[in-house]
Point group: D2
Chain length 424, copies 4
């Protein structure tokens, strides 16, 4: 093994183990029973997330690249494949709660087994082979980070359905901000912007196909919309006035009798929300979250503004490159109010994924990779809306300004938020 | 405390603790994750069964009768009430898998807490008070036994949905019988039979209202229908010929694409069935089980026979009083072939609940008890069919010839079986 | 052709034509568009009823018995078969509104075609052949009468869903009764009663299997429960108190948000009901109708009484043989108040089908006829409750005291009513 | 009244009456029963279309602008409002088949009543008032044309559900083309294109917000994809290979067991399709139609090509302005093969609406009109895809190159088609 590789693989192994440990850490506060249920189809059992991320490394790295590798268990490929048709049949998505076995301790053994063999593989790999597996290994780590984010949102949902409303962790690490900064609109000049990832590090295939987009002049709100601002919309009868809503959104509101964001409950005539720290009074300064695209857009319409397109968002991020944010590393796991001490554009990174009024479609040059990896993104490019910027459940080194997240417009269990634009 | 009571309460306490321990024993082979899921609405999570049976004693005995009793946990009444409207609101039946908390260990503490206080109450109770609570205490024990039976059937269903098909216990205690006894029909003379419970021990309210029923002469099959006999029906195209079926049964068969009893799977062109001991080849001599009323009746029609009414079954049990049976105490938990060494009427007790062609309706003198206990049986007297005789999941001292079990005609997850009648 | 037959067939032909004309007459007030829709699966399009009753005669009489008979249209057997699997495939029950073609005028031609050929067949039939087809011809007429009754109830439902609430016929022939007779309970002595049809005329197969049933002493209400009495139940919170209800009934009430019988609407704070004569104020003296078995039973429980079993009803009809009633011939098509001038047992015949607390099961000796006719009744003997006595939509010569009608316990679109019993 | 106006209003009146008569003409081949049913929620009863288009003129023109206008019928506003919340409550969309009354003849009277009063209004209107109502009158005519197109597609669907498969008109006016022109790809140069309507005539609000879009170089197929080409996809197992499909499309294909376009049936091992002229053998030269966006995109993926974006389509129409097309005026009502005699870009207008891979979203400057008219388009701008170019059911003077039609990606009952692009 060359010296060059030794140092590179050492760093890679470090990152591998750091990432893998984070998944386990996120599950530490859970009971075994918490890790097996699936209250809605969008939410996967935490045990499944832990196994599926290991299955990814086993299937795409160990099986093809580690000589004489023995599967941890023959049936795990069937049990823990998510949606890769190329890899074979699998437990249907809505049947994941049938997996009461293998028990949690077996999944931890599975994780250790995979980690041991990845370590072994990397410690003895040739330069050439390393270059060969690097893209998939990188994808495996990015994939694990995506599932860490889902773990947080899925755990929150699971706990919220429990009548006892248990906190994930009782104490919060949240910085207390007395009063969020005032809302302002910042000008972004129109013009031709280059859209998509142009760097040399990792990006997903859906960020490729760099292309130029003509963007009109517009203004962007300096921070996310707050609970206080959203409450004004609610108290103005926003949920009952069809004029603010897309038709399918208003149908959902009426069918599900929606009156507030997900996790909001009125107690003793006061709004509370279920958080990772238990049930708490709604803090009016914090960004409003767990709203669907429909609610985000209705709010914008009510406010006489618009949501941004994903191209406007990316253009703004070129004008004001975002620096830091409230990511999963803060261990707060809830959004934090905008800092009045900071001027300029805030909260573009972290806190909440921002709904854009852009459908999740392929960029002009988009092509699917051959084989199973090609199923990663492309087949979901219909009926979903793009979200940008990451959330308080996102790992800091996972985000980019070109990152395209996507959900159906009715989904509310993610850490979603609203940023407004002024257009002409 | 009088000496008389001391001995009576001692025996009662013995029975109380024996019964309570059996519930815990049945759950021992489970993982915590097994105890929280609810794959279909009929199946309750085992953890819920363990808590609910304790809630029954707490709510109906300890709270009203033990001075200064402190609830184990305020919210448990909401969490573990099953269907007693009188007692207040509760977790909806289809939401029982939301109860990932309280964790399993808390439920064990709850059980101990209740047991300790019941012991304390009984050890210091006066004669008068004991007489007062005896009926409810007895009901609580019978109730716990009913849930033990459900525990077995629900655990079987939960394990069966797992792609790994794990055995509840790998080894079986089943007596091996090479060849089931030949089928014969025994005459039961017609006449006026007294129906309902006339003894001095416990019975459920639905067995009261003793009344006379005119029964015609008929003949009863000496044992249950076997897998081999049922397979002949299947191989004759029984599931595809509408002439054998009630219309709603045939609709179910077509809609759900049924081809065989529940838990049957064809592997390498041979029929297997999922049992409490894992997947096994179908034994042709054993009684066929996990069939709906529709299948039982279609089989009877195909065979040119009938199902019995519940009155005919009870009349036959007066002519040939059943002795022993394959109950939960055998720890086999699956039906056993009829013994060729025994003549006369077999398998009336234990093995499998026998579908009758009698709707579960009130007997003439039926009245509901006042209060919550009145919700025990009466409100279910519609759209269900009566089953008689107990099964391999029934505690031996729980059954009587007058016992009326009841399920909807499409249910298959119980240990149900078929006995034929010849009528004129 | 013998003289004897000539006169017999003449009478039969008379009856045939009278019956057939009545079907057409019932449809006269309809628009073509009224005759094609199917708002719920229980309700068939009137055009379909008109065609299906003709198909019955064509399929079971003309095709097998009239030499050289040519089908009116090849596809009609597929289009207008209801549920006879033996006769071949058919338009699925919930797809009957697809039959916009053949248009109404073709169906009238179809009816004429069938009538002409039946006439031709009967005019030239030999004695022997007549005896041969008589049972099926009789069944065809009874079948047509059953569909006349369904026509009335289905037309009422179709018109009721129209926002204009059009009357079937604006004027009523109803006798105005100022005040219904007082409710009284009449004693029926217990004993062994012969149940089932013993006469020499027509009856359905489900009335056969005459057998003896032991009935206890009981008392029967002298008339049907009135709107006024039912309103007292409603105003006492009857629809909101679980104690009166079977569990599945209370679930239906809550799921469908039921507050009153079908067709009742509150306008300007006063209860109205949609009738065949348009929307009218609820008349408190008239019998309450369009209630499910669940509502009937909840009312009885609230009133501290019971519904009768079908055997008690038949026993009472032997003690007090019913004479006349408000049948379809009165052309009122709604129930009429009980006559205060009449003493004794009233309204057993006509007005409203009376829900009994008896499941629709086979009598002891029940056997299905071979072939398609065998599908007439037997295959529906599950999950349905027996109703007795006929309604204001029943032809007078169609009813018998042994007649067993049957519907699922949640059905409300039929002319159903409540009669109470006092039991001990 | 000024002379100027006289001639302008005369022309307008001519157009008004021509348009209105076309609606009636389209319904002439129908039976009254055809005009009332609603087999799926997307399809409205033809009678409803006829009434609703009249309601539009009555509500938005006659009521506000004709002094002393008396409503034809008070309830019609409730009955025939489609989706305008601003105008009040209405019959729910899935309840339109309840409107068996008013009968068809009343709807014709309604149309005449509205036409008479519109004539009266226009004959006496002042210049100023005319200018005032012109935009709404124009919208009313465009609206009526949209419903004419829906009438054709809805009638086709209604007839197709009838087991008799009746033809709308037996004879076809279709030009017979022996062999469709060969497929070729034509270059469209990239660059900044002006998108949206810039003319002075009518356009819908969703075409406004003219803006520039950067389009890459691409190639466009010279005609629509044919049945023959699509059949090659089918025969290559296209419906069973997940790699060609968007995930939600493949789920639909499996759930609905799709094997071919809507209206295709295999008879005697040969593909037929239901057309407006009855069931016919599939003509391989004709454009494939009645396919969902999912099928269109799967075909494109299989062929190694792409669908166009709506901007590319509009750019191509600027390079090759479309001239004529197969519109509703040809009275063929089915697509026609591409003419081998014609070179260059064909079939951009008429024949089939072409699915684009563009979500139906607002253009940058989009604003909703105030009041009910503002509900026309904007509230549907989610989850739908844009289609371009019109179909054989579109009136010729209704189409423009900037026209944006839109449907959900799973819809198949419209005349939809596929055009491919080559991209780099």
């Amino acid at each position: 093994m060359s010296t060059l590789t030794t140092s590179a693989t050492y760093a890679l192994l470090q990152r591998y183990h750091t990432t893998r440990k984070q998944t386990v850490k996120l599950c530490e506060p859970l009971e075994p029973e918490d890790t097996v249920v699936q209250p809605i189809i969008d939410v996967s059992p935490p045990k499944w997330h832990m196994a599926h991320t290991s299955w990814f490394f086993e299937t795409f790295i160990l099986v093809p690249h580690l000589p004489n590798y023995k599967l941890f268990h023959e049936s795990y490929s069937y049990l823990f494949n998510s949606y890769y048709n190329s890899v074979g049949s699998r437990v249907q998505r809505d049947q994941r709660s049938t997996l009461t076995r293998p028990p949690l301790r077996d999944i931890y053994s599975y994780r250790n087994h995979v980690d041991t063999h990845i370590t072994q593989l990397l410690e003895h790999i040739s330069d050439e082979d390393l270059l060969n597996i690097l893209p998939v290994l990188e994808l495996g780590l990015q994939h694990e980070q995506q599932h860490q984010e889902l773990l947080v949102t899925d755990i929150k949902y699971i706990l919220s359905t429990n009548p006892l409303l248990p906190a994930y962790k009782p104490q919060s690490n949240g910085k207390v901000i007395e009063k969020a900064t005032e809302a302002r609109f910042l000008e972004i000049p129109g013009g031709v912007y280059k859209i998509g990832y142009t760097g040399n590090d990792f990006c997903f295939d859906n960020e490729l196909g760099v292309h130029e987009v003509l963007v009109n002049d517009f203004e962007i709100m300096n921070r996310l919309v707050t609970n206080g601002e959203y409450l004004a919309f609610m108290e103005d009868g926003g949920y009952h006035d069809f004029r603010h809503w897309l038709d399918e959104g208003f149908a959902m509101v009426n069918c599900d009798k929606l009156e507030a964001p997900l996790y909001w409950v009125k107690q003793d005539d006061e709004w509370h929300r279920f958080t990772m720290h238990g049930l708490q009074k709604v803090n009016l300064n914090e960004p409003v979250t767990h709203i669907s695209f429909y609610e985000a857009n209705a709010y914008a319409t009510w406010a006489g503004k618009h949501l941004l397109t994903e191209f406007e968002w990316e253009a703004a991020s070129q004008v004001y490159p975002p620096q830091s944010g409230n990511f999963v590393e803060s261990e707060h796991l809830e959004p934090i109010a905008a800092d009045p001490a900071k001027d300029s554009l805030q909260q573009m990174y972290g806190n909440l994924w921002e709904w854009t009024y852009s459908a999740y479609h392929p960029y002009p040059g988009f092509t699917k990779a051959p084989g199973a990896i090609g199923e990663y993104n492309g087949k979901f490019m219909i009926n979903q809306m793009v979200l940008r910027g990451g959330s308080c459940a996102t790992p800091e080194n996972h985000i980019r300004t070109t990152y395209r997240n996507f959900f159906h417009p009715d989904k509310r269990w993610q850490y979603t938020g609203i940023r407004l634009a002024n257009k002409r």
